[in-house]
Amino acid sequence: MSRKVLLIEDEPNIAEAIRFLLTREGWHVETHAEGSDAIEVIQGANPDLVILDVMLPGKSGMEILRNLRQLEGMQHLPVLMLTARGQSRDREMAENAGVSRFMTKPFSNAEVLTAVRDLHAQATRS
C-alpha cells in the first residue's frame, strides 16, 4: 500500500514543488488549496501524513489543525505545518494546536524530506 500525503496549500507553485519532491520519494500526493473544507477533505482522503499551510483562504491552518485534533482518530495523524509567517508566536500557537512538526518558509527541500520521513517513521512505529 503506497503512502499517501495530503498537501493543503493555496500557493500553486509551492504545491507543485512539494508534489514533485514527495512523488519521487514514493508518496502518493493529493493536493487541496482551500481552507474552509479542509477537515472534510482530510477525513475523506485518510492520508498517512498532512502538510498544512497556515494562510489559507476560508480558514486558517491553525484552526483546521485545532478542529482536526478534536476529531476521533485524528489525534495522532502526523501534521507538518508550513508557514511563511515564521514568528515564534506562530510556532507556539501551532504547538498548542497539536502540530507534529513546524517549519517556516522558505524551507530547503532536504529539510522537508527529512521531516516527512521522520514523521512517517514515528507514526508507523507507534
Binding site: D10, E11, P12, N13, I14, E16, A17, I18, F20, L21, R24, A33, M55, P57, A84, R85, G86, Q87, T104, K105, P106, F107, S108, N109, A110
Partner: protein, 892 residues
C-alpha cells in the same frame, strides 16, 4: 497728743481689718453667697480710688495755694460720669466681651492683638504709675512724720517706715490680687476692701470738715464770712488751666490703669454704671465739700510756712483733737493704700501679660508648649511684678528725696496716661482707626510728654537749664516749654496741648494713611459695634440638655465609640447619677482639650462655646477657626489639583500607550504581512532552484517550466518591492506630483492598452467615448496607474465567462466621476470595507498580486485631491474614481 505707738497700733489694726474684710469677701464670693458684694454701691465706692492721698491731702493744699482750681480735679470725672456714662458703658461692654485684663490689653486687642502697642501702653503706665505710687508713700510718710514730730520717744525712722509700708502693701496686693489667674474673675476681696477704705476716707474728711466748720469756725455763717474774707475764696479762673485740668482729670479717670481695673475689669454688671453715674459725682461732691473751709481755717490757724498739704491732719492736731487727727490719718492712709494696691495689681497684670509672659514663652520654645505649669508661671510673674512695681515706687520716693517735687507729680502722671485717650476713644468709636495710627499717635504723645513735661520737671540733673532756656543745640523752636515758639503758657497747659493735639493728629493721619489687617478690621468692628454683637455674658454653666448636644457634637468629631467612652468616664467621675455628665467647667475644659486634638484648639473652643452658649463666640475664635479651615481647604485644594493633574497625566499616558500599542500592532502586522508576502515567492524560488540543482534527469520540458516559475516568482518579488516602496513614498507624503494636461479619454486609452498588452485579450472593455472628452490637469502617470490597477483587477478577478468591464465618465457637480464596473460576481459584502487595506486580497491569490494595488490607488487619489471607493450593489465589482474639476479649470 497721741503717741506714735498708738498710731502704729491703729494702723496695724486697720490693715488687719482690711485683710479680714478682703478675706471674708473672697470666701463669700467663692461660696456663691454675698450678692451685695456685686452691688452698685460697692462698684461706686470702688471707683473712688480715684481719690488718692494726693486728693485727700493735696486738694486742701491745692486750695490753699491756688484757690478753687482744685475743683477741676473733681469736675473732670464728674463730667465724664454724668455726660459720658454711655461711653463708659461701651468701654465696659467691650472689656467684658473681649475678656480684657487691662487697658494695655484693651488697646492691643482693639488694634489686632498687637503686643507692641500693649508694651507701649504698659511702659507708659509704669512710667506714670511709679511716681504716683511714690507720691502715696510720701503722703503716708509725711503724715507719720507729723505725729512723730510730736512724739518724744524719737523711735520713728522715716526710711524704714516707708519700706515697711511699701512691703506691707505689696503683700496685700499679692495676697488678694493674684489669687485667681483669670483677670476676669473678679477680685471681690480687694474691691470690698477698697470700698470700705473709700467709706473711711470720706468719713474722715467729712469729720474733719464738720469739725472745722462747726467746731472751729462756729457754724456755716461765720465760715462763709471767713471764706469771703480769704484770698482763696475768689473766683480766679484761669480759663486755660481750668480747661486743661478738667480735660486732664477726665482723661485720666478713663485711662488710669487702676481706674480701668475697677471700672471695667472688676465690673460685675453693666447696670452698675447707671447708679455710679449719679452716685460717684455725689461722692466727689462730698469729698470736695469741706476742702475750701479746711484750707481757709488752716491758713488762718497754722503758722506761716506750714505745709498746707497736711492741713487735714494738722488742723485737728493743733486744736488738740487727737482722735479726729487719728481718723484723718486713717483716711489718708486708706486713700494711699487702696490706690497703691489696685495700681500694683493693674500694672502687674500688664507687665506680666505683655512683658514677662511673651519673653518667657519665647524662651520656652514657642507658645505651643502650654502645659499645666503655665498657670503657676503667670501667677509668679504677677507676684514678682507687684513686688517690682512697689520696689520701683519705693526707690523713686527715695531718689526724689520725698520733697515738694512729688506734689506736682500727680498731674504729670495724669498728662502721661492721657496720651492713651486718642487711641482708646478712637478705637471705640472710629472703625478707621488702625494699629499704625495708634502706635504713631501714642509714640508722638509719649515723646512730647516726656520732653515737655516729665524731663523739665525733674530738675537740672536730667535736663540742663541751657536746653530749657535755648532749646537743644540752640534750636529755639524746640524749647521744651515753648515748643514751636509758643511762649508764655503754663507749662502744664503747654505740654498737654501739644502732646495731645499732635498725638491725636498723628493718630488720625496715620490711621487714614495705613491699611488695617483683617484681624484689626474685625476687632475694630467688634469694638465699635459692640452693642450690635454681644449679649450680656453669663458664666459657663450648662444643663444636661446641653450635655446631649455636646455628646452629639463629640460623636461627630471623635466617632461614636470614643465619644461614648469619654462621656461615660466623665459621668462616672462625677458620681454617675446620670448617664451624661453635668457640663461643669472642668468637664468642658477636658472636652475642649479632647476635641482640640481632632479639630484644632480654636475650633474646639468655638464649638463648645456655641453649644454651652455662656461665652459668645468671639471674633478671635472665629478667625482662628477660619485660619484652621483655610489651611485645611488650601491643603485639600492642593491635593485636589495634584490629583487632577495626576489623573490627567495618567490619561495622557494611557492614550499615548494605546496609540503606541496600536502603532506597534500595525507595524507588527504590516511586517508580518510583508514577511509573508516575501517568503511565499522565495519559497517557490528556493524549492525549484534546489530541485533543478539536485535532481538528475529532469526533462527539458520540466527544466523550462521550473525556470519559468522561478522567473515569475522573481518578478512577483520585484513587483512587491516596487509596490511597497511606492506605497511608502505615497504614505509619507513626500511624493512630488508631475502635473500635466490631457483629456480623460486619452489617459484611459493608454491605461487600457498598457493593461491588456501581452495578456490574452479576454476582457472586453466597454467605453462611451463622447463623455470622456473631459480635459484634466493632474499627474497623468499617477492617474493612469490607478486606471491600470482597476483594469488589471477586473482582468484578474472578474469571474464571468465573458468578462466585460464598463468604464463610464460623468461630470457631476464640479467633479469628474469615473465608474469601473465588471460583470463578475463582485466582492462579498463583508470584504468590501477591507479592499483598500494593505494586503487585503479577496478571493484567493490566483492572480499573484501582493494585495497592495488598491491601497496604492487610494493613496494616489488622495494625493490628487480626489477619492476612490467601492460601489456596492452594481452586480459585479464596481469602483468609482472621483476627481475635482478644479483641475480642469486650472488647465484652461
Amino acid at each position: 497728743m497721741a503717741t506714735l505707738n498708738v498710731l502704729i497700733l491703729v494702723c496695724l489694726g486697720y490693715v488687719v481689718l482690711l485683710f479680714g474684710v478682703a478675706f471674708a469677701a473672697d470666701r463669700m464670693a467663692a461660696a456663691g453667697r454675698g450678692a451685695w458684694l456685686r452691688s452698685p454701691l460697692i462698684y461706686t465706692l470702688s471707683l473712688s480710688i480715684y481719690c488718692t492721698a494726693w486728693t485727700f491731702y493735696g486738694a486742701v493744699g491745692n486750695a490753699a495755694r491756688s484757690g478753687l482750681e482744685f475743683v477741676t480735679i473733681y469736675l473732670g470725672p464728674t463730667l465724664v460720669m454724668l455726660s459720658w456714662w454711655w461711653g463708659l458703658r461701651k468701654l465696659v461692654r467691650v472689656g467684658r466681651t473681649q475678656r480684657v485684663t487691662s487697658i494695655a490689653d484693651l488697646i492691643s486687642s482693639r488694634y489686632g492683638k498687637s503686643n507692641t502697642l500693649a508694651i507701649c501702653v504698659t511702659i507708659l503706665a509704669v512710667l506714670g504709675g511709679t511716681p504716683y505710687i511714690a507720691l502715696q508713700l510720701q503722703s503716708i510718710t509725711l503724715s507719720f512724720s507729723i505725729f512723730a514730730e510730736a512724739d518724744p520717744s524719737g523711735l520713728y525712722r522715716e526710711g524704714s517706715s516707708v519700706f515697711w509700708v511699701a512691703a506691707g502693701l505689696a503683700v496685700f496686693a499679692i495676697l488678694f490680687g493674684t489669687r485667681n489667674l483669670d483677670a476676669n474673675e473678679r477680685h471681690h476681696g480687694v474691691v470690698t476692701a477698697i470700698a470700705l477704705e473709700s467709706v473711711v476716707k470720706l468719713f474722715a474728711l467729712l469729720a474733719v470738715g464738720v469739725f472745722v466748720v462747726w467746731g472751729v469756725a462756729g457754724g456755716i455763717g461765720p465760715m462763709m464770712d471767713r471764706i469771703d474774707a480769704s484770698e482763696i475764696g475768689q473766683w480766679n479762673v484761669d480759663a486755660g488751666r481750668w480747661t486743661t485740668f478738667i480735660f486732664l482729670s477726665a482723661a485720666a479717670f478713663i485711662c488710669l490703669p487702676r481706674m480701668f481695673q475697677v471700672m471695667v475689669v472688676e465690673n460685675a454688671d453693666e447696670g452698675h454704671l447707671r447708679t455710679a453715674a449719679w452716685a460717684f459725682p455725689l461722692y466727689l461732691l462730698l469729698m470736695s465739700l469741706f476742702v475750701v473751709p479746711i484750707a481757709v481755717v488752716g491758713l488762718d490757724l497754722m503758722p506761716e510756712g506750714s505745709n498746707p498739704d497736711l492741713f487735714v491732719l494738722t488742723v485737728p492736731l493743733s486744736q488738740g483733737n487727737d482722735w479726729l487727727a487719728m481718723l484723718s490719718f486713717i483716711g489718708g492712709f486708706s486713700s494711699a493704700t487702696s490706690m497703691v494696691i489696685v495700681t500694683a495689681m493693674a500694672l502687674s497684670t500688664m507687665v506680666s501679660n505683655h512683658l514677662v509672659m511673651p519673653i518667657w514663652l519665647s524662651t520656652q520654645g514657642g507658645a505651643g508648649s502650654v502645659s499645666g505649669d503655665v498657670r503657676n508661671v503667670v501667677l509668679m510673674a504677677r507676684r514678682v511684678s507687684i513686688a517690682v512695681i512697689m520696689a520701683l515706687g519705693y526707690y523713686y520716693y527715695r531718689l526724689s528725696g520725698g520733697g515738694a517735687a512729688l506734689a506736682s507729680i500727680g498731674l504729670v502722671a495724669f498728662a502721661g496716661i492721657s496720651q492713651i485717650l486718642p487711641a482708646l476713644v478712637g478705637g471705640l468709636f472710629w472703625r478707621g482707626a488702625t494699629r499704625t495710627g495708634a502706635l504713631v499717635g501714642l509714640t508722638v504723645g509719649f515723646v512730647l510728654w516726656i520732653y515737655t513735661l516729665l524731663l523739665p520737671g525733674m530738675g537740672g540733673a536730667i535736663m540742663p537749664d541751657s536746653v530749657l532756656q535755648n532749646g537743644p543745640f540752640g534750636w529755639g523752636w524746640l524749647r521744651p516749654r515753648a515748643l514751636f515758639g509758643i511762649e508764655g503758657m503754663d507749662p502744664m497747659v503747654h505740654s498737654v496741648m501739644w502732646s495731645l493735639a499732635l498725638n491725636t493728629a498723628a493718630f488720625c493721619a496715620a490711621s487714614l494713611l495705613s491699611f488695617p489687617s483683617p484681624l484689626e478690621r474685625l476687632q475694630g468692628a467688634q469694638f465699635v459695634n459692640v452693642f450690635d454683637h454681644s449679649v450680656s455674658p453669663a458664666g459657663w454653666t450648662g444643663s444636661v440638655a446641653q450635655s446631649e448636644d455636646l455628646m452629639i457634637m463629640t460623636q461627630r468629631i471623635l466617632g461614636s465609640g470614643p465619644a461614648q467612652e469619654f462621656f461615660q468616664h466623665e459621668a462616672e467621675a462625677q458620681g454617675g447619677r446620670t448617664s451624661l455628665p453635668e457640663p461643669t467647667p472642668g468637664f468642658l475644659e477636658r472636652l475642649e482639650r479632647e476635641l482640640s486634638g481632632s479639630v484644632g484648639a480654636a475650633t474646639a473652643h468655638a464649638m463648645i462655646g456655641q453649644i454651652v452658649g455662656g461665652s459668645s463666640v468671639s471674633v478671635e475664635d472665629l478667625l482662628a477657626v477660619a485660619d484652621e479651615s483655610a489651611e485645611l481647604l488650601e491643603y485639600s485644594s492642593q491635593l485636589e489639583a495634584k490629583s487632577a493633574e495626576l489623573s490627567r497625566t495618567a490619561r495622557q499616558l494611557r492614550e499615548a500607550n494605546t496609540k503606541l500599542t496600536q502603532i506597534s500592532e500595525q507595524k507588527d502586522g504590516f511586517l508580518s504581512q510583508v514577511s509573508h508576502e516575501l517568503r511565499t515567492p522565495m519559497t517557490s524560488i528556493r524549492a525549484f532552484s534546489e530541485i533543478m540543482r539536485d535532481t538528475d534527469g529532469l526533462s527539458a520540458e520540466e527544466q523550462t517550466r521550473y525556470a519559468a516559475i522561478i522567473h515569475d516568482e522573481a518578478l512577483r518579488l520585484t513587483r512587491l518591492l516596487d509596490d511597497l516602496l511606492d506605497l511608502s513614498v505615497l504614505e509619507s507624503g513626500r511624493v512630488s506630483l508631475n502635473m500635466g494636461g490631457d483629456t480623460l479619454g486619452s489617459i484611459l486609452d493608454r491605461a487600457v492598452s498598457s493593461s491588456l498588452a501581452g495578456s490574452h485579450p479576454k476582457l472586453r472593455i466597454r467605453r462611451s467615448r463622447p463623455s470622456e472628452r473631459i480635459p484634466l490637469n493632474t499627474d497623468l502617470d499617477r492617474l493612469g496607474q490607478v486606471f491600470i490597477n482597476l483594469i488589471s483587477n477586473a482582468q484578474k478577478y472578474c469571474d464571468a465567462d465573458e468578462p466585460v468591464l464598463t468604464i463610464s465618465a460623468h461630470d457631476v457637480g464640479g467633479q469628474v466621476v469615473i465608474d469601473f464596473t465588471d460583470n463578475g460576481s463582485g466582492i462579498p459584502p463583508e470584504a468590501q470595507s477591507m479592499v483598500f487595506e494593505k494586503f487585503a486580497r479577496v478571493g484567493g491569490d490566483k492572480a499573484g498580486g501582493a494585495g497592495l494595488g488598491l491601497a496604492i490607488c487610494r493613496e494616489i487619489m488622495q494625493r490628487l485631491g480626489g477619492e476612490i471607493s467601492y460601489l456596492p450593489g452594481q452586480g459585479g465589482a464596481a469602483f468609482r474614481v472621483r476627481l475635482p474639476l478644479a483641475h480642469r479649470q486650472a488647465a484652461q
